[in-house]
Symmetry: C2
Subunit: 303 residues, 2 copies
């Protein structure tokens, strides 16, 4: 099975766990359950589920196994829920004002802005409810639950993803001040921290030692930056159909990206260099082939 096939097969498994989250089940009161419908809508929009897959795969890597138990998938969903909450709020009129997401109307368009605001809030809080429940059900220890909750809240919160979104807002009116260092910082916070969280989730769930945690962080940092660089390249070179969103949306606003500050060729080279470094960091762990290949695949993807 190629890395892409394994990624897709694991993503489908994640999708099943996402649709089975008990806290998101409907009981028949549409007066308030419309918010659950909006959350389920946003979650069902798909995506590669890379974050959840990274959590599951780093668990397998550090546990030295080919299979992960259900609770690992349930915990991995927490990262995907946080990612989806940020997408709902990012698309809203006061933020990026994007009407489409992955070829479907954004949540605030498919529902309304008030419901989208609350659906984002609901998905921001739900991961902590799930991670606490896994402990109360005896599936993970309270110590593990607390470590996961600490990692997720720090990576998603004020000094993590949210700080990255603030940098993005800040840069909107300051295009001349955007350079490679700024773009790296923004990428590190806005998308990088949640990728670190994903890999660290796997390490925590596998009860891995500190050097393993550091390898996971190093891998995630490089893959995260490479992923953002390739996103910027594809925004220039890909077709609208392949991406499921209008291309060139950044350059229309003339907002500099890695493609601009580095040039397309150097940007692609950097992405590939980073993904090689990432795979280097984990190669001493038996069974690292998939994660190595995944890093390369993400850096050379065409959509």
């Amino acid at each position: 099975m190629s890395a892409t096939e394994r990624l897709m097969s694991e993503a489908e498994k994640i999708n099943r766990f996402l649709s089975d989250i008990p806290e998101l089940s409907l009981s028949g009161d549409p007066r308030w359950e419309r918010v659950l419908e909006a959350e389920r809508y946003a979650l069902s929009a798909g995506g590669k589920r890379i974050r959840a897959v990274l959590a599951v795969e780093f668990y397998k890597l550090f546990k030295g196994t080919n299979e992960a138990p259900s609770y690992v998938y349930e915990a991995a969903c927490a990262v995907e829920l946080t990612h989806t909450f940020s997408l709902i709020h990012d698309d809203m009129p006061e933020m990026d004002d994007d009407d489409m997401r992955r070829g479907k109307p954004s949540t605030h368009v498919a529902f309304d802005t008030a419901t989208a605001l609350l659906a984002g809030d609901g998905l921001a809080i739900l991961p902590y409810e799930i991670l606490a429940r896994l402990s109360l059900e005896g599936k993970i220890s309270p110590e593990t639950s607390v470590k996961l909750i600490s990692a997720l809240s720090r990576c998603a919160g004020n000094r993590g993803m949210i700080a990255g979104q603030m940098l993005d807002l800040w840069s909107e009116t300051r295009y001349s001040e955007i350079d490679e260092a700024f773009l790296k910082k923004m990428s590190e916070l806005k998308t990088g921290r949640m990728l670190i969280c994903s890999c660290v989730f796997g390490a925590i769930l596998a009860n891995a030692d500190e050097s393993a945690v550091n390898a996971a962080i190093g891998y995630a940092e490089r893959v995260g930056l490479a992923f953002q660089i390739v996103d910027d390249i594809l925004d220039v070179t890909s077709t609208a159909e392949a991406l499921g969103k209008p291309i060139g949306s950044d350059s229309e606003r003339q907002k500099p990206t890695f493609a601009d500050v580095l040039g397309l060729e150097a940007a692609q080279e950097l992405a590939e260099k980073l993904s090689l470094e990432a795979s280097e960091l984990i190669k001493k762990y038996p069974g690292s082939e998939f994660l190595s290949e995944l890093a390369i695949t993400l850096a050379t993807r065409k959509s």
Copy 2:
């Protein structure tokens, strides 16, 4: 010291803990720390801090002590942060569109809507970071941390406060369907669940038994409903100056409240009956006088 004086003195203590939250300290990068400034602004707008005070006082009641250690105040702040996140998002244009909050410009007016959206997100996530940290620092056990996180996320989340906000949105276009039962359900979810959370926080922190937890929940349910009823009464009878916001804002939109569906006199009687029941539920615990008096004070307040 009267109940009002003790409430104010404890509220001041809570305010000191809120301004000392290490996760909200500024380090000098205004490019992204603007979101922290917005959160600190929203938190500094004040309020009675009833939620945090209830958490601290129920800890004292069930622990049989007059003093609470610092970590109890730190944990109690988590409830206040969640309440403040909901106020920031509630005031935004897509929700209540309120430009003023407690006599000051709302966060989205003092800053901007994008920053307010992210500040609400930040304050929604921060409580879990703090509650996990208290365990990692050894101030509370991982078991206690998980119980607090479970209680908070369930009371604030999709089936708690957020469901109540959805009911509020639902009712905007259905005034004719609003009756006493609906208003009770909305109050139970929108404000009641977070008051339950506050009292239960105290019980969990004191490691109280199940009958104590049930007494705390019963007290909170009644005080929460009484508080909402009095809010509705004051919206009709109080002055704009005393409330710090325009009066009659609900009736201008002709949205029925408890004052409408019950009549002012019956509404006031119900609030007082509920607060008496609340104090009855906790009177067997030595030292319950303050919480009893607080219930009565809240039901007979004039602002």
